[in-house]
C-alpha cells in the first residue's frame, strides 16, 4: 500500500473538485445556507404570515338570534370579530373564504337559558384554514366566557360560592432538562439534515470523479499511469469522503450558529413559543453526532463512488443515484416520526440507526451499548461498500463499459 500515491491522487482530486462549481455548491454553499434558510427564513416567514392572520378581524355571520337580543348584542359588541349580515349561502361563503366563520343561535336562545335548558350553539368553519380557524376560535372563546358568566350569575342568584365553578386547579410544569426538551422537538430534525447533507455533499464529487471522468475521457489517461487501481480508488474515495464530512461539519456549524442567532426570533413561533424554550444544540452533542456520522459518510462515499463508476456518463450516474437518494432519505424520515424508538433491531439498519441514536444524543441521552453497536455495524457496512468500490475498479467491463 503506497500512501504516497494515494496522497498524490487525493491532492489532485481535491484541487480539481474545488474548481468544479457544482461540487462547491453542494459541498459548501448548500450546507451553510440550508439551515439559516429553513429555520430563520421559514421562521420569519411564519411569524409574518401568522401575525397577519392574527391581526385580521374576521368577518362572521350570526344566523338566527332575532328572538335572543342579549347574546346577539354581546356578539356585536365584541371587538375581535366583525358581524356581517346573515345570508343563506353562508357555507359557500366560508368555503370561498369570503367570510371566516358563522354562528347559528338556536331559536329562543335567551329564554331557553333563563328556563335552565341546554340549547346548542353551532359554529361553522373551514377546517384546516388558518384564518377561518382564528375566526371560529374567537367565537369559541366568546361562548366559553358567555357560559361562565351565565353560571356565575346563576350561582350568585342562588347565593352559592363561586368556588363551585372551580373546585380545584391543575398546573402543568416541565421537569425535563432544557436540552432534552429541545432534543424532543428538534432531535429528529438535526440528524436528518446532517445525514441528507452528508449524502448530497458526496454526490457530485462521486459522479465527477467516476462517470464524469469516463465522459471526459480522462479515465483512460489515469488508468495508463503506474498508480495501482486500489490506490486510485482510495485517493478518489478520500476526496468524496472529505466532501461528505465537510458538508456534514459545515451543516452542523451553520446549525449551531443559526440556533444561536435565531433563538430570540424563533421563540415567538408556535409550537416553540415560551421564553424558557432553549433552541440550541450543545457542542458536545454536535461532536458526538458528527462522530456517529463518520462511518455513515464512509458508507455513502463508497456506495456513491461504486454506483457512479458503473455509469457511462454524468447523466446516467444521476439517474442511478436519484432512487438511491430516496432510499437513503426514507430511513432518515422514519426516525423523525413520533414513537420510533431505538432498539437492538433498529440499531442494525443503516441510516435509520445513526439517525435514531443522533436524535437521542441531541436530547442528551447516551445509550452506550447502542452507540457501540451502531458504530460497529455502520463501520461494517462502510467497509463492505468500500470493498465493492475497490472490486468494481478492478473490473474492466465496468471501467470500459461500452
Amino acid at each position: 500500500m503506497s500512501l504516497r500515491n494515494i496522497g498524490v491522487v487525493y491532492r489532485k482530486e481535491l484541487i480539481d473538485s474545488l474548481r468544479d462549481r457544482r461540487t462547491v455548491v453542494s459541498m459548501i454553499a448548500v450546507p451553510i445556507l440550508l439551515m439559516p434558510l429553513l429555520t430563520v427564513g421559514l421562521g420569519v416567514l411564519s411569524v409574518v404570515l401568522w401575525g397577519r392572520a392574527m391581526q385580521e378581524i374576521p368577518e362572521v355571520m350570526v344566523l338566527g338570534g332575532q328572538d335572543s337580543p342579549r347574546v346577539v348584542a354581546a356578539l356585536q359588541a365584541l371587538g375581535e370579530i366583525r358581524v356581517v349580515p346573515a345570508q343563506p349561502d353562508y357555507a359557500a361563503q366560508i368555503s370561498d373564504k369570503q367570510i371566516r366563520a358563522a354562528v347559528e343561535i338556536p331559536r329562543d336562545f335567551d329564554a331557553a337559558l333563563e328556563r335552565g335548558e341546554i340549547p346548542t350553539v353551532r359554529i361553522y368553519m373551514y377546517a384546516g384554514e388558518l384564518r377561518s380557524g382564528f375566526g371560529a376560535g374567537r367565537l369559541q372563546t366568546f361562548f366559553r366566557g358567555f357560559r361562565e358568566r351565565t353560571v356565575r350569575e346563576r350561582l350568585a342568584a342562588r347565593q352559592l360560592p363561586q368556588s363551585l365553578l372551580e373546585p380545584f386547579r391543575v398546573e402543568e410544569q416541565n421537569v425535563a432538562p432544557p436540552e432534552k426538551v429541545s432534543g424532543t422537538v428538534l432531535g429528529g430534525l438535526i440528524p436528518y439534515f446532517v445525514i441528507v447533507l452528508c449524502l448530497t455533499g458526496a454526490m457530485y464529487p462521486a459522479i465527477d470523479l467516476t462517470a464524469g471522468e469516463k465522459e471526459r475521457g480522462t479515465m483512460e489517461t489515469i488508468l495508463c499511469s503506474p498508480v495501482s487501481r486500489v490506490h486510485l480508488v482510495l485517493g478518489k474515495f478520500l476526496m468524496v469522503l472529505t466532501a461528505s464530512l465537510f458538508s456534514a461539519a459545515l451543516s452542523m456549524i451553520s446549525m449551531g450558529m443559526t440556533f444561536q442567532a435565531g433563538q430570540g426570533l424563533l421563540q415567538t413561533i408556535e409550537p416553540f413559543g415560551g421564553a424558557a424554550f432553549p433552541l440550541q444544540i450543545s457542542v458536545r452533542a454536535m461532536a458526538a453526532v458528527f462522530l456517529m456520522v463518520v462511518p455513515l459518510a464512509v458508507l455513502f462515499s463508497a456506495a456513491l463512488l461504486a454506483i457512479a463508476l458503473f455509469a457511462k456518463s454524468y447523466k446516467e450516474a444521476q439517474s442511478y443515484l436519484s432512487p438511491l437518494t430516496i432510499t437513503i432519505v426514507l430511513p432518515a424520515i422514519v426516525s423523525v416520526l413520533p414513537g420510533v424508538e431505538l432498539n437492538a433491531v433498529l440499531s442494525l439498519i443503516p441510516v435509520l440507526n445513526t439517525s435514531l441514536v443522533s436524535k437521542e444524543i441531541v436530547a442528551g441521552t447516551y445509550h452506550w451499548d447502542y452507540i457501540v453497536l451502531i458504530f460497529a455495524s455502520s463501520c461494517a457496512y462502510a467497509s463492505a461498500a468500500l470493498a465493492v468500490a475497490i472490486w468494481l475498479f478492478q473490473r474492466e467491463e465496468v471501467l470500459f463499459r461500452a
Binding site: T221, S225, E396
Partner: protein
C-alpha cells in the same frame, strides 16, 4: 522492446455473444523502430494497444513490454510506457503544468527534479502556456500537453493509438515529427492508424490487422514484393481480400 505472443481478447455481450476483438496476434517491435498497426475501424487495433498498456487483460496469450510481462507485472509495464490515444484526454480544470506534474508524481518524481523535468519537456515541446487551464487550450495545445504527459517520465516505449485522429494538418504533422524524434532517441514506438500515408511515411515495420487477426507484417518493401502492389492502400486491400 515489445514482444506480443498470441495475444487474444474476447468480449462477451448479451446481444452479440462472444466477440473475438483480437485473435492470436504476435509481433515484435525493437528499440529505435516504429511499428505501425494498420487496420480499419473495429479491426482490433485499440484493443491490442490497450492490452499492451495493461488497461485490458488478455483472454489468452501475453506480451513483454520493456522486459516486463503485461499479465504479471502490469505496474512496471505502465511505468515504462507513454500511452497516447484519442481517448486519453486532459483534466480540464488543471493547468498544463499541474497536469504534467501530476503524472510526473504518479511516476515517482517529485520536488525540484520534477520541476526541472517538466521545464525541459515544456521547452522541448515549446509549451509556453503552462499556467493556463487545459479546458481553455486549443486542440493543438492540448495535444502538446498530452505528449508532455507521456514524456514526463522519459519512458523507453511509446504507444500511440491513432494519435492524429481529428487533428488539423499542422497539429498532425507535429505529431508525426514527434514520433520520428522518439525513434531517433532510440525509443520503441508502436502506433496504430488507418491513415495509409502516415504509415507509409513513418513505419519501419507495418502490421496489417483485420477482424482481430494480424494478416501480414514486415517492412513496406517486403509487403510490396509479397502482394505485388506499389501503394500501401493496395497492399492493405490485397491482404484483407486474400
Amino acid at each position: 522492446m515489445i514482444e506480443a505472443e498470441n495475444l487474444s481478447k474476447y468480449f462477451r455481450g448479451p446481444r452479440r455473444g462472444v466477440v473475438r476483438a483480437v485473435d492470436g496476434v504476435s509481433f515484435r517491435c525493437e528499440p529505435g523502430q516504429v511499428y505501425g498497426l494498420l487496420g480499419a475501424n473495429g479491426a482490433g487495433k485499440t484493443t491490442t494497444l490497450r492490452m499492451l498498456a495493461t488497461l485490458l487483460q488478455p483472454t489468452t496469450g501475453t506480451a513483454r513490454v520493456a522486459g516486463h510481462d503485461i499479465r504479471r507485472d502490469s505496474q512496471s509495464v505502465r511505468s515504462n510506457i507513454g500511452f497516447l490515444s484519442a481517448a486519453t484526454a486532459l483534466y480540464g480544470r488543471l493547468t498544463a503544468r499541474e497536469m504534467t506534474e501530476y503524472f510526473g508524481r504518479l511516476h515517482g518524481l517529485g520536488g525540484p527534479a520534477l520541476r526541472r523535468r517538466v521545464d525541459d519537456v515544456f521547452k522541448r515541446l515549446e509549451i509556453d502556456f503552462g499556467e493556463r487551464r487545459c479546458e481553455a487550450l486549443s486542440t493543438g495545445m492540448k495535444q502538446k500537453v498530452s505528449i508532455a504527459r507521456t514524456l514526463v517520465h522519459d519512458p523507453p516505449v511509446m504507444i500511440f493509438d491513432e494519435p492524429t485522429l481529428g487533428l488539423d494538418v499542422m497539429t498532425a504533422r507535429a505529431i508525426v515529427a514527434f514520433i520520428r524524434e522518439c525513434r531517433t532517441h532510440g525509443k520503441t514506438v508502436l502506433f496504430s492508424t488507418h491513415v495509409m500515408s502516415e504509415a507509409e511515411k513513418l513505419c519501419d515495420t507495418i502490421g496489417i490487422i483485420h477482424q482481430g487477426r494480424l494478416l501480414a507484417e514486415g517492412p513496406l518493401a517486403a509487403l510490396r514484393v509479397r502482394y505485388q502492389q506499389r501503394g500501401l492502400e493496395e497492399i492493405f486491400v490485397s491482404a484483407v481480400e486474400s
